[in-house]
């Protein structure tokens, strides 16, 4: 699914002289990987590199058989839209849209995605799967934190991505809900046969993942 070789990345000098080096990294299709470690060790940076938001200084990144490091801006964007799903740390739902519009949002901002009746059908199916079918027309501000989290998951997988990148997907939840949400996420990913890379600090959740990489000593870690 993902293969990274000889990766080296450095933010511009003004933002500190942090350098990320990943000699080699692999992810199998359908694999669920958790990345943990203190902040400032490059967890989120790795996600950005995989998503093609930041270009690597050196090395190669292959995702789903495509060379992300060699793509043009627009190809990267298209790739990101069609092959990847995102769950942001603070969810980034849009308050001015209702639940359905939030999930459909990628279709409204990307000409590459066509908002067809089939997509709407899938939206209803997903909403039913996470038990929020009856709240599709409600503004997201009216939803509970757990519900919002589920909405964010739906948005990430509606486009049927090959890979979902999640940054602290359960950060703001109580332990009960954390497990529930993770179940929802895994179930959904299973259905869509998507891989997952999740950055998380929740150590009690790590056991649920196929594999865990701890960035506190990642500079030695090898996949």
């Amino acid at each position: 699914m993902i293969r990274i070789e000889g990766l080296q990345f450095r933010y511009p000098a003004a933002e500190g002289d942090f350098t990320l080096r990943i000699p080699r990294f692999d992810l199998k299709t359908g694999e669920r990987l958790a990345i943990t470690g203190p902040s400032g060790t490059g967890k989120t940076t790795l996600l950005k590199l995989i998503a093609g938001i930041e270009p690597p200084l050196e090395g190669s990144i292959w995702v789903d058989g495509q060379a992300v490091h060699a793509m043009s801006d627009s190809a990267r964007r298209r790739f990101r839209i069609t092959r990847l799903g995102f769950i942001f740390q603070d969810l980034q739902l849009l308050e001015y849209l209702d639940m359905a519009d939030n999930i459909l949002h990628p279709y409204r901002i990307n000409p590459a995605l066509k908002l067809s009746p089939a997509v709407r059908q899938r939206l209803r199916q997903l909403a039913a799967d996470i038990g929020l079918e009856h709240k599709l027309g409600q503004p997201v501000t009216a939803l509970s934190q757990g519900e919002r989290q589920r909405v964010a998951i739906c948005r990430a997988v509606l486009t049927q991505p090959a890979l979902v990148l999640a940054d602290e997907p359960t950060a703001s939840l109580d332990p009960d809900n954390k497990l529930k949400i993770l179940d929802v996420l895994f179930r959904t990913l299973d259905r869509e046969s998507a891989s997952l890379i999740a950055v998380t600090h929740d150590h009690e959740l790590l056991g649920r993942f196929d594999r865990v990489i701890d960035f506190s000593d990642y500079h030695h870690a090898q996949a």
């Binding site: 998503a51 938001i53 990101r80 995102f86 990628p106 279709y107 409204r108 901002i109 990307n110």
Partner: protein, 385 residues
């Protein structure tokens, strides 16, 4: 593009108060100078049109502006009066159509204007409802006067002394509304028109009363208690109404003269060149132009102020725009992460600006229209009083 507008619309709708305030501000800022100019231009053209339609005005020697405002706009009720002798003088010359006007009374805020039927003909004032004046005590209402007074055909309007500027010696007469005139968008819409003779009855120069009981043996009238005076003209008592004194001495406020041709106009004007005469002749178009010149001087000043306000507005708008982008930076970042191109982001902002702009434009038009409608009532009223 449809999706851009959809999202823009949802955003504006969600923050509706902010959107409405923005639209209101934008529309007002845009409409203000336009409305100002439209109003002035329209006011100018209306004033000039009225002046052109009133070629010459003869009246007692006073301020020419006062005389013009009285004859054209029924303002300045305190204007010194002239007499019917002056009307006869113009009429007998056969140089001009002579239209006497007695604009001295005000009933419930509407001018009560004594005229001859020729005035209505000349101004092309035709009754929309009811009939025109036929008998003493009849009144026809301008369209706005009818609305303002809440009167319809067949109603009565009492000219009690309390309603009039002149309190002394006024005959309270119950006017009968026989007709309502079509709207003309000029001061005639405000007026209550009555026959000159009806105006003189209100003035106390004529009256109707019960016939004296019987003549004395030698034909002399009995000098007994004064008979009952009628306050309403009815078919039964109309014959008892009569006037005292020489009709040539009856007061009018002005004579509108419509000369047959340039020669007649020159001849008529020539009559009034002598400053020692009690009466004068004015050309309303000249007076109005002079008035407008003064207004335009003020307008130029206004324009300067408006230009400064415009610059400040632009700066404020830029700031508002920049701040609103700042407020949505997080959202923009998400969109970008989700795969939006810069172009898409730009389109979203553009769509929203466009919606705001269109709404402001529509509202701005509405303000301008509103101002235009207000003109008929208020601006002309300003000249009248």
């Amino acid at each position: 593009m449809r999706q851009d507008f959809y999202l823009a619309w949802r955003h504006l709708r969600h923050y509706r108060i902010r959107s409405l305030v923005l639209i209101a501000c934008l529309s007002l800022m845009g409409a203000l100078p336009i409305a100002m100019h439209v109003l002035l231009d329209q006011g100018e053209s209306k004033l000039l049109a009225r002046a052109r339609a009133t070629p010459l005005v003869v009246g007692a020697r006073a301020s020419g502006l006062d005389l013009t405002l009285n004859a054209l706009y029924f303002g300045n009720p305190d204007l010194p009066r002239t007499t019917m002798a002056e009307f006869d003088r113009v009429d007998d010359s056969s140089w001009a159509l002579a239209l006497p006007i007695y604009s001295r009374f005000v009933v419930k805020g509407q001018p009560l204007v004594g005229i001859t039927l020729d005035y209505l003909d000349y101004r092309q004032l035709t009754v929309d409802q009811g009939e025109t004046l036929t008998t003493l005590g009849d009144a026809v209402l301008g369209a706005n006067a009818a609305t303002a007074l809440g009167l319809k055909v067949g109603d009565r309007l009492l000219t009690t002394p309390g309603n009039l500027f002149d309190l002394a010696g006024i005959y309270p007469l119950k006017l009968r509304i026989t007709g309502i005139l079509g709207r003309r968008d000029n001061p005639d819409d405000q007026a209550i028109f009555i026959d000159l003779k009806t105006a003189w009855i209100i003035e106390g120069l004529g009256h109707g009363h019960e016939a004296p009981v019987s003549p004395g043996k030698n034909g002399a009238r009995p000098a007994t208690a004064s008979p009952v005076t009628f306050t309403e003209v009815t078919p039964d008592n109309v014959a008892s109404f009569h006037f005292h004194g020489d009709p040539a001495t009856y007061p009018i406020s002005a004579v509108i003269a419509v000369p047959k041709d340039t020669r007649a106009s020159t001849l008529l004007r020539g009559r009034y060149l002598d400053d020692t005469q009690p009466d004068q002749l004015v050309v309303p178009l000249e007076i109005t132009r002079h008035l407008l010149d003064n207004i335009f001087r003020i307008r130029d000043l206004f324009d300067l102020v408006l230009a400064l306000v415009g610059i400040a507005t632009l700066l404020a708008l830029s700031l508002v725009f920049w701040l609103s982008l700042r407020m949505r930076r997080e959202e923009m970042r998400t969109l970008f992460l989700l795969g939006s191109s810069r172009l898409t982001l730009l389109r979203l902002i553009l769509a929203e600006s466009l919606l705001l702009g269109l709404a402001s434009l529509a509202l701005g038009f509405f303000w301008v229209r509103l101002a235009q409608q207000g003109l008929n009532e208020s601006t002309l009223r300003f000249f009248m009083h």
